[in-house]
């Protein structure tokens, strides 16, 4: 690790001021991606600004038709939350599948979506449920938030503060995990929402994406059979030592069908 200054922010304002005054600052949530990155010397920030002391960023509330989760809420808390389990069981389930217990005790919602790893699980839930991301500067729909591999609409110094998840009629998440890390090789989040059916795929492409053909077919008939013949082309999908693009394309169909079956 290269040397850096450590700063612990007490408030959002404090964090942003520290960022502005730093040569090349970076925020730290649970450090589950940042610290491994620093160790490998893939980043050399001048200042690491710890968000852990900002209590406003943590917590889960159910407000009418939405579940609102603070950016610094860890995966274990989402998985164990009675409110989330009741309102959006698929979301609690998804959080319980991330990594391992130690990672879930530190890794956060905000860190996961700000980082936008193509294999991360949460982007599937945000896009699958049509969630809204709240930041220090703006309010943006999940469909717009994730723009590419490790890319989002976050600007320099901008912080995710919370995410608002509309409570669906039904939803389910199914993933094919990498057997070592548990990151998704392919994950499918299917939801019947007030605004229609949504199918979001994570892990397979450079960033999370929807499958309109499946959404249309499921609107006509909400059964696994209805999407049995729909395939997603392998052209733009990820290929690595864990799975070829063709295999990922195949898994999209399998995981989506399982998620639909899980909804009923």
């Amino acid at each position: 690790m290269y040397a850096f200054e450590y700063r612990k922010a007490a408030s959002l304002d404090d964090a942003q001021k520290a960022f502005e005054s730093a040569d090349d600052g970076t925020y730290m949530a649970g450090g589950m991606t940042l610290i491994p990155t620093l160790k490998q010397r893939l980043a050399s920030p001048s200042d690491v600004i710890d968000l852990d002391g900002i209590d406003d960023l943590r917590g889960i509330t159910v407000d009418g038709d939405n579940v609102i989760i603070g950016a610094m809420t860890c995966h274990a808390d989402v998985a164990a939350s009675a409110d989330v389990q009741k309102a959006i069981p698929a979301l609690a389930h998804l959080a319980s599948l991330i990594g391992d217990p130690q990672v879930r005790n530190r890794g956060t919602l905000g860190g996961s979506i700000a980082n936008n790893d193509p294999a991360a699980d949460y982007p599937g839930a945000l896009v699958g449920l049509g969630a809204t991301v709240h930041t220090t500067n703006k309010t943006v729909s999940a469909d717009e938030f994730f723009t590419g591999m490790f890319e989002t609409t976050l600007d320099e110094g901008e912080l995710v503060t919370k995410v608002s998840f509309p409570i669906p009629e039904k939803a389910a998440y199914q993933k094919f995990p990498n057997p070592a890390s548990r990151y998704s090789v392919v994950g499918a989040f299917v939801a019947k929402t007030k605004d229609g059916i949504r199918v979001a795929i994570t892990g397979a492409g450079p960033t999370v994406f929807r499958v309109p053909e499946m959404e249309q077919a499921l609107t006509a008939a909400f059964t696994a059979d209805a999407i049995a013949d729909i395939s997603v082309p392998a052209d733009d999908l990820n290929a690595d030592l864990h799975a070829s693009a063709e295999y990922r394309a195949h898994l999209i169909g399998v995981m989506a069908k399982r998620a639909v079956a899980d909804c009923s």
Partner: protein, 159 residues
């Protein structure tokens, strides 16, 4: 920078660099070498400790992040001169270790899992899922899983 932690019930402080890892502080500055470093890449769980009662990987935390927090390591599980903790005893009884390198992390994960599933039956499937973050190169896990089931029972007062 100066940090201070409560570790195994004792107040300790020390001077660290911002980039010092918590596991380095624990092993090299406090001399508590029961917490191991297996991979240093957040995968193996040999470095598992408890921070404020939650299992975490000490190789993936800065010492600075632990400032003011309550830490427990394997050394704090049972008194140095006293009997072993029931979970440690269960590992001995059930062939839960061979070389022992992964064992401190396994025990810390086991204790966290018993705590998380208080009042529930800790069945084999649950134990295996909960061990996702701990790797063992020797045992093939069967002994570890049996040990944790037995240790959990012993902790609940059964035998």
């Amino acid at each position: 920078m100066q940090i201070s932690v409560t570790i195994n019930g004792k107040q300790e402080s020390g001077e660290v660099e911002p980039r010092t890892l918590l596991v380095e502080f624990i092993r090299y500055q406090l001399g508590l070498t029961g917490t191991h470093v297996g991979c240093d890449t957040s995968q193996c769980g040999a470095c598992t400790i408890h921070m404020n009662g939650k299992s975490v990987k000490a190789c993936t935390l800065l010492a600075a992040q632990a400032d003011g927090q309550d830490i427990q390591t394997i050394e704090g599980v049972a008194p140095a001169a006293g009997p072993l903790h029931p979970m440690q005893e269960a590992f001995r009884d059930n062939h839960g270790l061979q070389c022992g390198f992964c064992t401190p992390g396994m025990i810390m994960s086991a204790l966290a899992m018993v705590e998380r599933h208080k009042g529930e039956d800790l069945d084999e499937q649950t134990i295996r899922e909960e061990l996702e973050g701990n790797l063992c190169r020797c045992t093939g896990y069967h002994g570890i899983v049996k040990a944790i089931a037995a240790g959990a029972k012993a902790m609940q007062g059964g035998s």
